[in-house]
């Protein structure tokens, strides 16, 4: 029989030989001192590896990790608060736009059906809102307020998209 191969040595060490293979291999090992020595070294490598030491992680590493986690949790919380703020801003923007659109529509297109209670209420509310805003910011600033609202809406959409991208990542 030829000398044992590396694969055969490994299979002996891992107890993977069939009973028939084992008989043939044992016979060869009995006759061949070179393979017998080689097997000894394979076995000692194997037992050496079973006895290997675990390398100790630096002391206090768990505290460092827990601190990192706590910091990240805090950051996530503040991000959530920011997200809620943006959602509120977005809602305010949408409501404001709807209000202005409603107001303008009631002034022009829906003027024919002014007898409707709903439209009357809308008209009144919009007019009140307009006069309140005019009082607060002045008549001239009314249009710039509309533009600002629109800007808020666009910004909110931008932040929402960015947040969505972060979540997807």
């Amino acid at each position: 029989m030829k000398h044992l191969t590396r694969n055969e040595f490994n299979r002996i060490v891992d107890n993977e030989l069939s009973s028939q293979e084992k008989i043939v291999v044992d016979q060869h090992l009995f006759d061949c001192s070179s393979c017998s020595d080689e097997l000894k070294s394979y076995k000692s490598i194997n037992s050496l590896l079973f006895d290997q030491n675990v390398e100790e992680a630096p002391t206090g590493i768990e505290n460092l990790i827990m601190r990192k986690i706590a910091r990240k949790l805090r950051n996530d919380k503040s991000q959530k608060t920011f997200f809620r703020f943006i959602v509120s801003l977005f809602s305010v923007g949408v409501l404001a736009i709807l209000g202005f659109v409603g107001y303008r529509a009631s002034q022009t297109v829906l003027q024919v059906s002014l007898d409707s209670n709903m439209i009357q209420w809308l008209n009144q509310t919009s007019a009140q809102a307009k006069s309140f805003i005019s009082l607060a910011f002045g008549e001239k600033n009314l249009r710039s307020l509309e533009v600002t609202m629109l800007l808020f809406l666009v910004l909110s959409i931008y932040f929402l998209v960015e947040k969505y991208k972060t979540i997807r990542r």
């Binding site: 992680a57 630096p58 706590a70």
Partner: protein, 188 residues
């Protein structure tokens, strides 16, 4: 104190007891550190990646499916993080080699000769660190973690037969390192 299983600890953490996660850290930190140190061949890098792995796994606990063991799932994170770190490191070294013509500077991944004068356990660790990363991973998971070839195959994303081949080759490679360093007397 009652010995909690990994799953019990995870359940507790998911219920809001974040501090219980330190139990998992204490359970796996040494073995994961051994694996990382052998793969990255640098203590500082191993420590940094170990911290990142624990933080990453904390925030991914919700996505942990209980089909596999926690250890298998966690070591997969450790292995992947180490592979990423190694590729970044190799790219950095390649860039440095391009900019500096340093023929006398050997690759920084090898273990210094002078370190081969220590005790048996340390000598073996240094010999294992000399092996290529995939060999040291298989040796560490198989012998230190007592994992089966099947579990290892899931961690390093390869077939069971491939793991067996790697295990065989790594033993032969370790034997080679030991004889090259003339450590037969000390180790075998």
């Amino acid at each position: 104190m009652k010995h909690l299983s990994d799953i019990e600890i995870i359940d507790s953490v998911l219920q809001g007891n974040a501090n219980d996660y330190s139990l998992l850290i204490n359970r796996y930190k040494h073995k994961a550190f051994s694996l990382l140190k052998r793969m990255l061949k640098n203590e500082m890098d191993a420590e940094e990646v170990l911290q990142d792995c624990f933080v990453k796994s904390f925030f991914a606990l919700k996505s942990f499916k209980r089909e596999a063991k926690f250890s298998t799932w966690f070591y997969r994170i450790v292995y992947n993080s180490a592979v990423t770190k190694l590729s970044v490191k190799k790219r950095k070294i390649e860039q440095e080699m391009l900019s500096i013509d340093n023929e006398d500077n050997p690759l920084m991944l090898s273990v210094p000769e002078k370190e081969f004068t220590q005790q048996k356990g340390e000598l073996l660790n240094l010999a294992i660190q000399e092996l290529p990363e995939n060999y040291s991973v298989v040796i560490t998971l198989f012998y230190l973690e007592s994992m089966s070839c099947e579990e290892i195959s899931k961690i390093i994303n390869t077939s069971v037969n491939n793991v067996k081949v790697l295990l065989h080759r790594s033993r032969a490679a370790l034997k080679e390192v030991i004889s090259q360093r003339h450590l037969e007397k000390e180790l075998l």
